[in-house]
Symmetry: C3
Amino acid sequence: MENINTWGSWLRHALELSATVAFALSGVMAAARGRLDAVGVLVVAFVAAFGGGTLRDLLLDQRPFFWVRHVEYVWGILALGTAAMLFMRQRHFEPTERVMQIPDALGLGLFAAVGVDVASRAGMPALVCVLMGIVTGVFGGVLRDIVCNEIPSAFRDHRPYAVCAFAGGWVYLGLSALGAPEWVALVSTVTLTAGLRLLALWRDWRLPLWQVGHD
Amino acid sequence: MENINTWGSWLRHALELSATVAFALSGVMAAARGRLDAVGVLVVAFVAAFGGGTLRDLLLDQRPFFWVRHVEYVWGILALGTAAMLFMRQRHFEPTERVMQIPDALGLGLFAAVGVDVASRAGMPALVCVLMGIVTGVFGGVLRDIVCNEIPSAFRDHRPYAVCAFAGGWVYLGLSALGAPEWVALVSTVTLTAGLRLLALWRDWRLPLWQVGHD
Amino acid sequence: MENINTWGSWLRHALELSATVAFALSGVMAAARGRLDAVGVLVVAFVAAFGGGTLRDLLLDQRPFFWVRHVEYVWGILALGTAAMLFMRQRHFEPTERVMQIPDALGLGLFAAVGVDVASRAGMPALVCVLMGIVTGVFGGVLRDIVCNEIPSAFRDHRPYAVCAFAGGWVYLGLSALGAPEWVALVSTVTLTAGLRLLALWRDWRLPLWQVGHD
């Protein structure tokens, strides 16, 4: 039993590390597209990486924040952002929207799983747990886009994004209610959410169009 | 006495329900104007409806939020937003700024009254109570406009809006200090705030122009 | 000893007052450039003056906020904003970016010192203390620019700004660790941060350029 708990804890830590790196890189790229300066790049990387989880913890009134408990992550983001700037400068590498979609999809799945888990431990009702998964997975990117003065791409590009986290969240709650071990619920949620997102991008699925005058 | 308390509680619940619907619809319309996708419409409807009250509760450090205590409201917003999208698609109904002003005025009055009431119960000083009424009534719309990447219309259109909530808030505090029953203070505040706002729109009142080079 | 404590307390109060006025004026000028109306000017002045400290206190979960403890400051901001509008109208005074830089630099130094101090008393790790200094000093302006629907100038203009607060924050922590009296740490931080910022503007220092395609 203890092995599984240790494994679950290790897995969750690995999930948070990967998701944080993925989102920080999406922040670097968004800041580069917005022509922000070096400080702006680091701040937007930080906001993209920790914004969703921090907003979730603010709403759930939980402290300390992840980045206060794990200050080494903040140093990591600063190092990663600096390295990314040097690399992008040397290679004349222009980040494209396409390149951003892969780390984004992984981060979405990873953060949504962690977010539902945290809200569920805090005793929130089911729908609020799923919303907190969406907040954790999506609002880092939303805050990133707001700082870069753009309409959040999650709300504009007519491709399933938050919807994938919504589906994943219910799967997590369902598996937990059925008594599945924590790591099974986590892995399933991550796989389903990131898989749905990548499938949606690959097959070019669209959200139902509804707007008048939209063509 | 108990009847009046029950009536006051019922009235407040009815106020919150009407204001929530009004603001959610203003969110749907703002998102439609900004050409957001279906997910964006639902998120902006949620932000417009619950953003002001949630920001107030964050600032006052009060939990649980309204939408955590009343999860049925979140389901309601999702249903309302979906219904509004279907309706707008079928009727080829293009939402205009004019149509948005009516639910906005009602929501402003209703939320300002509730906000002053909540801050007053939390023992805030008078000016902070009035500001919390403004936060509750105005910042749902402000957050809505920020997500839609627009300058908040409440701060830009030179028409009295937050000012009406400011006036209404002092009336609430004054009536309470005079010992008026809660429902009298609530009804008066709502009537005055929404009435002032609608009168200002009807008579085309303007805030004092002050800008250099403004013409 | 007591004299020094009183002096330290008086100094900190004076610092907060000056910084608040400086930032509120930067808010008035930003709102004027954005062509906001009178209510927008007052709100943006408030956000610029209290936004950074309020965000810090939200993150550190500290209540009551400065402006709840000192309601007279809120009245002061309302009076100051109104006076500034009347003055700018009479004198046909068009606020320039250059004029905004001086109060901004002072406010940055003053708020960063106070922010590191507050986080340090709350027992935060060193890097988080420095970040809270940056949040206090920089995010009032960031929120101001977000409300005015602009990319935050702190992240865009390639001139050292948050970097000065970063340096100042470490100086504060270092002096405190060496056992320097509080007022020495405060004065040194303010002097270094504001001095660096003004020197950077005067000598036209630039952050390292890194962007591809930037010329």
